[in-house]
Symmetry: C2
Amino acid sequence: MAQDRSPDRPPTLEVVAARAGVSRATASRVLRGATNVSEDAREAVLQAARETAYAPNHAARSLVTRRSDAIAFLVAETEDRLFTEPYFFALLHAAHAQIAAAGLQLLFITVPTAAEAAHFEHYAAGGHVDGVLLLSLHGDDRLQQSLERLGVPTVLNGRPLSGDPSLCYVDSDNIAGGRAATELLIQRGAKRVATIAGRQDMCAGQDRLAGYQLALQGFGRRLSQRLIAAGDFTVEGGHRAMRRLLAANPDIDGVFAASDLMAIGAMRAIEQSGRRVPEDVAVVGFDDLREAELTVPQLTTVRQPVADLGRTMAQLLLQRVAGDDPPHATVLPVEVVKRDST
Amino acid sequence: MAQDRSPDRPPTLEVVAARAGVSRATASRVLRGATNVSEDAREAVLQAARETAYAPNHAARSLVTRRSDAIAFLVAETEDRLFTEPYFFALLHAAHAQIAAAGLQLLFITVPTAAEAAHFEHYAAGGHVDGVLLLSLHGDDRLQQSLERLGVPTVLNGRPLSGDPSLCYVDSDNIAGGRAATELLIQRGAKRVATIAGRQDMCAGQDRLAGYQLALQGFGRRLSQRLIAAGDFTVEGGHRAMRRLLAANPDIDGVFAASDLMAIGAMRAIEQSGRRVPEDVAVVGFDDLREAELTVPQLTTVRQPVADLGRTMAQLLLQRVAGDDPPHATVLPVEVVKRDST
DNA sequence: CGCTCCCGTGATAGCGCTCCCATTACACTC
DNA sequence: GAGTGTAATGGGAGCGCTATCACGGGAGCG
């Protein structure tokens, strides 16, 4: 029965079972870690598997169990900028560690266009993934909604823009971050605190602005539209926004920028206007990029728990794949990193 | 025959074939794009597939074809630092685009420990991946050698340290880059050009140093060990190395740092010594990180063709998976980006 | 007109695994 | 000693697909 197979074919369960002197069914039970197997049989099978360097055929298993044991890490984003951000690679790393520890595979997939998103939906509907970790800067959740409807559990990074409470997501506490950053400026004595807001089509941009406003209200200050400049999360955008702010309000002495890159642009504009950071204008950023330590003066900023974010997303997804129903909204705390720009 | 199946099961080939009024075999031929199918049959099948939203079952196909249609993106690296580098995410992105265009899946896998590497080997031996894109900063090629022996084609990012000519790799032209950087310094009038070398257990570090030496020789200058400082690719390492260099050779007027981060540290040390960049000491880095544009003065550096690297790796691997035998060594040109530090 | 040739097609045998069910062996009870 | 229960095992069907082979029928040939 344990006759040799065609050349170079990996050993099958059949071979292992024969070698161990048991049936295929028993060998399968052992290798799956099922109960109801005698100690003798277990050891014999394990040894036979070791000797033959047996590796279960994933396709065959998947065919019958109807599980793929694969999770998709889906990047639904057109911007190439994404791929120059260490943030996402760190997220991927942390998520992968969890997924791998659970014995699943991680498929990396990008769907830059709507057509490709539709194709993925189709693919997922075919049962090729057990779940999806979704990355979409814009919190666009149409794809997530479709996937959930198809019965594919998903977890989103960031709050869904639609606010659909049935969707599962993990986010940094952008509101608390914006608030803490602004409060720090006020506590350090800033009288007139402006903000450079991020893109308002992203929930991170919205929330950080909301945090800024909450902080001002908390200190009983009036909100002024003149102290809010629109930015786009880039260095240039921050630079332009700061110039506009200073032109309209020369007495500004504190700025919360909704990203480090914008903060860097803002610091440049402040210095070009003849003012000093932090003596004349204090600056706080958001993200804690590596760049934040390289600026002169070093940038005070808000650090996101990136690894935690990835880990949590993966854990929630694994729970959902297993049939649990964990909380849908998870918001992780951020941390203010005080450096020299305040 | 086209009877309904159990609830919520995706449609099978059987269903599509019945709907199109042909046999499973013919439907399979159409969907695989095989020839020898009449135009009528083709259209009928295609339409039936569209109507039923048919998605082929990957596991079933894989089981019989003995191909997984999956490529592993394997990160064999312990350093978490890796995951804060935009370099690798950009590489992953470019490689993925190629792989996806060829209709294959990309598995993201990290093997930080030897045990996990062994486990992956085992897994790969089971025929679960058709090929491997290998990332190992240290050019450690034992894993690559094992995989090739198992019949799993691999392509490495970076030159294998062992120099084994049977291994397939893609690398930036670090030697030419180091040479061009050093030559630029000389052409701009530097008389005494030092280098801060990268880690010598990585081929990138070795090659960039070799390029520096070639440039000096090309200009008929004597090589001096006193002008070579050991660095570790970090800001702090660059800072320390530069201090040592200046202490031993106060007349240095040009420095090639084998990474931008080290160049940033070096610039800081130069300024702390009371010298100016570039008037007293010109500086060139390597990598063209985003940080290079943010320094004051902006850093002249050597840009690697990251996207090209990823794309080329994927293309070569796909060729190898298809049975071709493309050239084993591919070295892509780098480009000097001139800014204000020279 | 009979022959070969070949194109398009359908029937069918698995790929390697899990799962359901039947069977065995061996206590234990009355 | 016959009946009942339980734990361990084996037999076999079948997951959805591809690949091999055999077959029917029309074109081309002598």
